[in-house]
């Protein structure tokens, strides 16, 4: 999803604190407290709800986004920490959402409830950015930050390996 406009959101404040950063290639300015978690700024200020809330303490990975190309837990990242930086969410991972990982996820029917999958895909994308042909062990080590209650782990591994082959 491409944001084509300048986004400003207002809170019930007596003073305006505008924080500027880049989301999925678009400049945004948000009126948020400096310690507002990036997760809620993305989801509720900017209405990019593809990034999910799972635990709020960096244990589940559902909130993962890319900050300057590296995965970060948006639930633990205050929005002030990304001022001037580039953030990528699941919506902006690839044009038309046709990243090799997204295509592999669809081809192998990876998601069940699907709630963890945005975070899983963002985490996997970081892996393939660094390591084009990860071994199974490298995949597992990298991906173990992300919980899945439905138990899609074996299919996630296969999808990452498929995407690596096809990319």
């Amino acid at each position: 999803m491409e944001l084509k406009f300048h986004i400003v959101s207002r809170t019930n404040t007596t003073h305006e604190i505008m924080i500027s950063f880049i989301v999925n290639g678009t400049n945004v300015k948000v009126d948020a407290e400096p310690d507002a978690p990036l997760l809620w700024v993305l989801r509720e200020h900017l209405k990019l709800t593809g990034t999910k809330f799972g635990c709020g303490m960096g244990q589940c990975g559902a909130c993962m986004v890319h900050i300057e190309g590296k995965t970060g837990y948006s639930c633990l990242t205050p929005v002030s920490a990304v001022a001037g930086k580039s953030v990528t969410t699941i919506e902006g991972l690839a044009p038309d959402s046709q990243h090799p990982l997204q295509k592999a996820w669809v081809e192998l029917e990876v998601p069940q409830c699907g709630y963890c999958q945005s975070g899983q895909i963002m985490r996997a994308a970081e892996l393939l950015n660094k390591n084009k042909h990860p071994s199974r062990e490298e995949v597992i080590k990298h991906m173990s930050t992300n919980l899945c209650r439905c138990g899609t782990y074996p299919t996630i591994i296969k999808a990452i390996q498929l995407a690596a082959r096809e990319a």
Partner: protein, 749 residues
Amino acid sequence: MIDNHDSTDRKRTPGTTRRTFIKQTVGFTFAIGAGGYISVFGAQSQDSAPAGSKAEPLQANIWVTINPDDTIVIKFAGTEMGQGSMTHVPMMLAEHLKADWDKVQVDIVKVNDPAFGNPIFQNMLYTAGSTHVMIYGVKMRVAGTQARKLLKLAVAKHWDVDFSELSTEPGLVIHTASGRRISYGDIVAQVDIPHEIPEVDESDFIPETEFRYIGKQVMRRDVPAKTNGTALYGMDVQVPNMAYASILRAPVEDEKPLQVNDSLAKQVNGVTDIVVLPYGVAVVGSTVEATQKGKRILEVTWSETSVFRGISSATSIAEYSSSARDLNTDAVAWSSLGDAKGTLAQASEIVDALYTTEPAYHAQMEPMSATASVSDDGKSAEIWVGTQTQSLTIIGSAEALETDPANITLHPLTMGGGFGRRSRLRQHYVDDALFVSRELKRPIKVIWSREDDLKSGYFRTAVAQYMRGAFDEDGKLIAVQHRVAAPAILPTMNKHRWAVNKPKDVITMLGSENRTYDIPNHLAEHILQQRCCRVIAFRGVGTGYTKFAMECFIDELAESKKIDPLEFRLELCHNNPRMSTLLKTVAEMADWDTKRDAGIGLGLALSGYHKSLSAGVVELSVEPDSGRINVLKFWAVGDPGYVVAPRNTEAQLMGNIIFGLSSTLMERIQIENGVVQQSNFHDYPIMRMNEVPAIETRVLSTDNASSGVGELGMAMVAPAISNAIASLTGKRIRHQPMTPDIVSAALRG
């Protein structure tokens, strides 16, 4: 409440011609009666159509509408939580209609209309208990076949040919003799449709050999949106003028806020209101983070008078255990065959064992959330929520607002995991949103934190089970008594369903009946206990622990006679060919007869869930000092009858095994003095990718009616593990979970 039609939506229905339209009004619907005839009720008026009017869609029956442009809308009466029914069940109608699935749009039923209900659940719309394919599959076949027959009858009349000369190909009715063909859309646009919905029987059904979708790889409809961030979950809803609410809840059930100091909370930038509720305090504001901050700095004094303050899960389990062992307690028979008590009373030797189970948490990835917009007069509401039940959410919300269910408009959304957690009549996160919205007269989105989800969670109950068994002189197992000491769960979930079913509680007792083994005397009974925490259905419901007890006990019985557990089960399944096949299959997959190296043991267990069966073998080692269990491999085979969706069935079986491993090896909820001790994933860990052992699954599609797969295989994991440890060490761990502390204590003792 019946509302299939928007009053402005003019649909054609059987009984109309091209030039006559029945004006649809709210309350006008069709029901398919036993004979397949239309029952029409509600107000209707007739308009004559102006000449040259456009064709209208054809609602062939309550489930399917065919549009003049060949597109088709099929209704789905359930909700999607990852089990795949939203694709597979409508797909079954498309199959029997011989429709082109690519032209089908699925429409979720949003109203509490018993015509769409599940008879197992008093004709409510309720997606639970792995019942959707089993119950609605039959309806889909009938509805699809009726619609197809209706189209053929219309064409037969239109072309003046015999019905028997017509055939269908996907989306087409064909008269081979004359070479004519007409698409379903053109039939709707051009042809008079007969008045009656036709009766159908076996001879009208498409044979399995012609299936294009059922049993084949058909992509689940919800998958693409779940890979690109566009799938809309309950927590994702955005409603104009919406405010957020975070609720500080009492630490112990049933307690109330007595004193609230919100002076600091009100000063948080973005906090706009504080609403005191009977059970907690809502911090309302224009951002989620403001409400969370405000909630953290509220100062509240709670009533501290709840009876739950004196309750701990450990003490309760000890009490359940005493009750389970005490044969003189009152008990409600859940299932009874022969005379187990009498036979056991006369037996010279009894094998007996007590099994205990701690509470567990669903740990679904999406915490609870609901959005509600209550009208100014407080008597109607619009609700957006991920729910397993359209009906109970509508009825429960009406109860909460003390209004008529007809005044509730529900938007059921997909769920980030259900597993039973979202299946209650009164869903407290919905109540939260309703009460705060009613007070503030604006839409409110309530988001529970993960801590809320645990501390105020509803759990798989604690249980104690006492098993007793006896053999005859020939060494044949002739009696088993299965005593389940546990709270009643159903009355706390849905008092209406309990009123119909009491004193039998299916949620507590499921799986304690014996449909597997040839045991001539069998009694399963429920010894009612006080609950030690909030309780609700959990994935597998009762089978999660009833199969644990039974499958561990079968191994103990086998051991008492020095018989191999596989051989013992095969003998008892001598007139259960489906289960025999599963046992032999999994034994072969696991090389059951091949002795493992020292320190490695195998354990076997099976499970049935309604008509879906499974068997499993685990291979593991255990470190006696730490109590750590290392699962090396798990083999699982499932038979859910005729498999509707092969890839999804494998995925569900795999998911169930991982769920069962995680639950058995890692998970417990502890209550002390009424307070849930766990709070997030750091102290309630669930299995990570690097902790998953090798798992091999196989699905057998058999010539039996299709049944559910959402809970297939879960219940056999724990007993397989306990059986493997016993085979390896000689010590039985009769407890769920088998965390290292439990295991090391058992191995020492």
